[in-house]
């Protein structure tokens, strides 16, 4: 591919300016055209100081994205034509795809619409590219998993579950908070929250492990989406530094958004954690390893470089680090307790899985979680497994279940507290910073508490053992046993 738009008198920076910011001009009625520019208190004096690393021209973009999609859809087609789902390590893996579709694919859509707003609200062309990219991610995930949906349960009504099921409230709350935010908060949220915490874990390490488990389709979609997300990561980090450098008034605002969105992303990442540690039959890295390699080490370094600008590590950085040894196990156990009403399957981890978890979480797993997992195995084997019949109380901020608040009595308590129950101190603090806004969620939580999986969707829930997924997978493979 030849580089377009070369002119001997212009370097790359000047060229990019001519192709982006220089297209805009001072309009007659800026306050009417860009009312959102000043609503959050952010002050920008010179937009041309915002660098644009990795920013392609549209010609380069079309060429690059065309190459990627030609390659990707060839893989998607081949996977479907060859019934690639037969080559999965184990049908249990399909449950990771279910969670991907139910929780994360809709967030890509929200990011797409959110970036379109930012592009218009700030007159920022970079955001228009990012909006198109997230539309791409939304679509490639649907297209890559479409084939799985034909053969496995738990995927067919992912939009219905996203809107109504309590398990996915954490995802919709996150997506809606993003959409409700002003343009600068949105940009900071994506830069220090979604892209580094969710993107780098879900789309890098999980997608690579997916390939290991025989899923070339979703794996390819995830890895190619990541090629866009690198651009976003770079653009986001450049933007955060730019905001802080533009005016001292911006610093406390940006820091507050960093604190909020890092924490919200950490809570959301509990769903990625459980996918990484419990839903990959062919195991690779643990969630804790992935977290260290792809989130905390790189982010710590970024914040180190931002320190001279006056920014600090997110307020609850330490709590976030401490959670990572526990979060996947806690989440799995909860899913098992509620499995009768969830649109995915659960199972008791086998001996190999338990040993792997012990090895990856030395000390903590055996002390805190192995007994519960063994208890679970025992219950499954004997067909007596206590199941919750009401929805759990959801945290008033992040909408994850509040530990210990299960059952009808807890629900009644929560109602009397008008939804002011929290899973953690950081969530409570976030709520208090914007109580009016977050109290609106009480109505959504109540709606989810009152909603349950329709009877015809019973086949989507419960134990993997004895499920239609398990039966079908064996049948398709000629009755052959998989590990």
């Amino acid at each position: 591919m030849d580089t377009t738009v070369k002119h001997p008198a212009m370097n790359r920076t000047q060229r990019m300016l001519a192709l982006t910011r220089d297209l805009a001009w001072p309009v007659r009625q800026p306050d009417e055209v860009f009312p959102a520019r000043s609503q959050e208190g952010i002050r920008i004096h010179d937009w041309s100081a915002l660098r644009q690393p990795l920013q392609p021209t549209l010609e380069q973009y079309w060429k690059l994205q065309g190459d990627k999609d030609k390659r990707l859809y060839a893989i998607t087609d081949a996977f479907a034509q060859n019934n690639g789902q037969l080559g999965l390590s184990d049908a249990r893996y399909a449950n990771a795809i279910k969670l991907l579709l139910q929780a994360f694919t809709p967030i890509e859509y929200s990011a797409h619409r959110g970036y379109a707003r930012v592009a218009r609200q700030l007159g920022l062309t970079d955001a228009a590219f990012q909006s198109a990219d997230h539309l791409r991610h939304h679509q490639v995930e649907i297209h890559a998993t479409s084939h799985f949906n034909k053969y496995f349960n738990g995927m067919h009504s992912f939009t219905e579950w996203f809107d109504n099921h309590w398990m996915l409230s954490v995802a919709k709350s996150y997506a809606d908070d993003l959409l409700s935010a002003g343009p600068f908060e949105f940009l900071v949220a994506m830069a220090v929250g979604y892209t580094p915490v969710i993107g780098n874990t879900l789309h890098v390490s999980f997608m690579s492990a997916a390939a290991d488990n025989g899923d070339m389709s979703t794996s390819s979609a995830g890895l190619t989406a990541q090629s866009d997300k690198v651009r976003h990561q770079v653009a986001g980090q450049t933007l955060v530094a730019f905001l802080v450098q533009q005016d001292p008034a911006n610093l406390p605002l940006v820091q507050a958004w960093i604190d909020k969105w890092f924490w919200r992303s950490v809570r959301l990442s509990s769903l990625v954690a459980v996918m990484q540690d419990y839903m990959l039959p062919y195991r690779s890295q643990s969630w804790q390893q992935v977290w260290a390699l792809y989130v905390s080490q790189p982010l710590a370094k970024v914040f180190e470089t931002w320190e001279p600008l006056g920014l600090s590590l997110p307020h609850h950085w330490q709590e976030a680090q401490e959670q990572q040894a526990h979060v996947s196990h806690q989440t799995w156990l909860r899913l098992c307790r509620y499995s009768a009403g969830l649109p995915l399957h659960v199972w008791a981890p086998n001996a190999a899985a338990l040993n792997w978890l012990s090895e990856k979480y030395p000390g903590t797993f055996d002390a805190l979680f192995r007994p519960h997992m063994m208890g679970l195995g025992h219950q499954v084997a004997h067909g007596h497994r206590p199941q919750e019949t009401t929805a759990p109380v959801l945290c008033g901020t992040c909408q994850l279940p509040v530990p210990g608040m299960d059952g009808a009595h807890a629900l009644a308590q929560a109602q009397s507290l008008k939804g002011r129950c929290f899973c953690s101190l950081p969530c409570q603090q976030l709520f208090n910073l914007d109580a009016d806004k977050h109290s609106a969620q009480a109505a959504s939580s109540a709606q989810r508490h009152g909603w349950s999986l329709p009877a015809k969707q019973a086949v989507d829930s419960g134990l993997f053992d004895g499920s239609q997924d398990e039966h079908n997978f064996k049948e398709w493979n000629g009755g052959a046993q998989h590990e």
Binding site: L23, R136, L179, W476
Partner: protein, 331 residues
Amino acid sequence: MTVDLQAREIQPLRNTFSHVARYVGDDKPATRYQEATFGAQATSNFHYRPTWDPEYELFDASRSKVVLADWYVLKDPRQFYYGTWTMARARQQDAMESSYQFVESRDLINKMPDVLRDKVCQVIIPIRHVAWGGNMNNCMIAAYGYGTAFTAPASLHAMDELGVAQYITRLGLALDEPSVLDAGKEAWLNAPQWQALRHLVEDSFVVRDPFEIFVAQNLAIDGLLYPLIFGHFIDDHVALNGGTAVSMLSAFMVEWHEESNRWVDAVVKTAAAESEANKALINEWTQSWSKRMHDALVPIAQMALGDKGVSTLEDVFTQFQARCKKLGLSA
């Protein structure tokens, strides 16, 4: 052991997702366009309201005065999803790249008469700002419109408009030194011939109804601008007077306009056909924006085509009215 794949009856449990099946049925596999589009946008149980616009929900059909029983009726006849769109544009970019190489290797720009080169720069370069306005307005639709059928193509159209702006910029840099871009911006901001158009574009930026923006930008503004400038001025006048190179380097704009009109027309026609009230609204918007655009183009038509400017513009306008009539409008 041989494995006979055909003997293994692997029957699918279903053909598509339920929110897609609601629209297309489940008796056969849905297309990629259908799976990417139907039911993608959340419609209920929003957790928050927009902080920047709290009187609306996060996705809210009432932002528009146009009323549709179901916004998913506004399908794109091209059935673009991101993948087919970007692959189509990549092929077009390849063709443009070849054209640039052809023009540059044969030094065709320098073989153009200077007067013609200057005229082209004078007329075309400020239009890169109009195209940026097209990007802004389509971002507005993608941001605030209702239903993925309507908003997703608008998002791609916004990128296309930016592509036009960048192609015009590239053309300018091929025709002259970088200062030609500054001259064009100066004209856009201050030269009398451009002010009516600039004010029109700026006024389109304060419209709050996503469907009105659609009509203003994609039907009225582009619907008159492209035939006049890229049709009559470049493909006829400039090409016939020794500027074929410019015509080659503007091919994308002509092709793209024709292709996307299929989408624009389908959306307008479908929305207008749904009710008398919609039709009246769309008529009113089309008439007022196209009249204003026509008037704004008079000085530009004269600048571009001299004596023939006004009559050519009248032809363009007549054809535009005929197009609108086919859509069920009475502009």
